[in-house]
Symmetry: C2
Subunit: 347 residues, 2 copies
């Protein structure tokens, strides 16, 4: 910076102000400095800039598993959103283990991040309380914690569960099972939506049709197979399954095929997340679109607003509406000829 100042005959403070977009600089000086900076391809040293602004220009992201395309897509759009403003993304994976998550939070907090974005795998508030103890801002994505006042960007999970289950009912399914998520806001919300849809169509909620596995985001195809195995052992086989996410649904379908049964006519399957390879699967998978690109983008916007705001901002909740994406895995022959499910259910 000194060299540039000398070359242009202005002070280092002036250069610094131009680079920070400070209003206290004439247009003529600003233009002259920026032109020169561009010419010499000057990259302001971020550490030096940080000493002036008190920022690290680092944003953290903790997700359960980066290989799960849902989180990879969020990471990609979040990184792009904050990258435009010179912020970089540090990523960490919790491997869906709350203890690993707590350790990653501590490690990242020691770095003086400007903000932390987290899709928490915790089932209680401990991790989030730990976050709140620090003054660093944070944004919850995907998974919310009702008792915590914080920024949140995610999906209406109850609506996701309701839409998926109602679609199965409309396709003629009557014994609808649910491979559930964990005991967090997304797991609870989708289960609640599933139950509400059954009830509003006069179908009985049967506990034995709801199965869960210890992991849902890591190693989830295998977990989905195991869960489907449990459902196939029920006295009366379900004719439709709503799965907490798409990888679980892929596993469930594989187990159904292994047993020589067909999707969708023996058992219709719908997932949640609308992952990019859903339409290339053995039977293209119906799913619920959660607008994951928008979740990443909006989380980035919230992060930038918080960091760049001069005054503390009240927490924002941004909840996207999910939407049905119907593919072959739920397109049953019976659907075309079935009675109105509402009427039928009154029997």
């Amino acid at each position: 910076m000194k060299d540039i100042a000398k070359e242009l005959g202005v002070s280092v403070v002036t250069i610094s102000k131009v680079l920070r977009d400070h209003p206290d600089i004439s247009d003529e000086t600003r233009e002259r400095v920026l032109k020169y900076v561009k010419k010499v391809d000057y990259q302001p040293n971020i550490l030096a800039r940080g000493l002036v602004t008190g920022r690290s220009y680092l944003v953290g992201l903790i997700v359960p598993d980066l290989l799960h395309p849902f989180f990879a897509e969020i990471a990609k759009s979040l990184s792009r959103e904050i990258g435009v403003k010179g912020y970089s993304l540090i990523i960490a994976s919790s491997d869906e283990d709350p203890e690993v998550e707590a350790r990653e939070i501590r490690q990242l907090q020691a770095r003086h991040l400007d903000a932390l974005v987290i899709a928490s795998c915790a089932l209680n508030n401990t991790s989030i309380d730990q976050l709140a103890l620090h003054s660093n801002p944070y944004v919850l994505i995907d998974r919310n914690f009702s008792k915590v006042k914080s920024n949140f960007v995610g999906t209406d999970d109850e609506a996701a569960g309701r839409i998926a289950t109602e679609h199965l009912i409309q396709m003629g399914c009557r014994r609808i099972a649910h491979i559930s998520g964990r005991s967090n806001s997304t797991g609870h919300g989708r289960l609640k939506g599933y139950q509400a849809a059954l009830q509003s169509h006069g179908l009985r909620y049967r506990e034995e049709y709801v199965v869960s596995r210890p992991h849902v985001d890591a190693d989830s195809i295998e977990q989905g197979k195991q869960a489907m195995q449990m459902l196939l052992e029920r006295k009366v086989r379900p004719d439709g399954v709503f799965c907490y996410n798409d990888p679980l649904a892929i596993g469930a379908m594989e187990k159904i095929f292994e047993e020589g049964l067909s999707v969708p006519n023996d058992i219709a399957v719908i997932g949640c997340g609308n992952l990019h390879y859903d339409s290339s699967l053995r039977v293209p998978l119906s799913s619920i679109d959660q607008q994951n690109v928008n979740i990443g983008r909006r989380a980035g916007e919230v992060v930038l607003e918080i960091i760049e705001s001069k005054v503390p901002k009240p927490p924002q909740k941004i909840v996207f509406e999910p939407a049905l994406v119907a593919r072959l895995s739920t397109l049953r022959n019976s659907a075309n000829h079935s009675e109105n499910p509402k009427r039928k259910s009154k029997k």
Copy 2:
């Protein structure tokens, strides 16, 4: 640190030495400090530790697209490897655009990373020369640059192309096409392996059977469809296709299905990368395993060796052997009854 020193009646320097694992400390003191630090859950401030060691404890990773599971898997295993030692991973995506890549390199270099890991999308040495200008160590992954002396961790791409093409020949294919990568080490290597396999089995190399698209890592299912469309317009249709990567192969298969043709009997398809959803596809995809988890892990090991070595280390090249993973997409009926392809090709 001051508080801990006061509490234990030792100097701040002693505490700092214990935390840096310095040999100049008695076992008794070390144990006492570590026990206390653990009790109070003390997280050494990484910035402060950086002032002592001169490190940022940050490692950068630039990949063409984080949504491509090949790179997500590498990011995951790399992050895990360096995380154990307290290093965090900053990620950036080049969107397969050399200009974006050059910008990301400049941005990350301004952060004083301890090392940069890059799967470069550049087709010439410009980006890498820029890297070499800085004293920060870097490690190339997946894509190598022959004129540059640098650390590299990747796959033997020529072997990958050869194995894939020989497998198609063994399955009875005689008109084998190639949807190629870009003009970089991976693209060249796999093309070379494809040509070598054809030649060693006496099959003619036909230029019209090699097609390429501007992108191969971003938006690649669509790119694969377009490339397959081009191949289907050839006077004589190919009966086998080796695709540069799995997402291209998925697109190619979709185009084949759209045309009412079958995989593998009309056209056998093999990809490269062995992505985690390959076996769940409409026709499970044969592929070449590149050991991507090992690439990430070994890149992490090389990074740690470079950072923690007291003396500059000569560049290392670590090249993993690829392996065939045969699934339904190449299992042709004709294969069981076909003559030995080597003999047949002598006609």
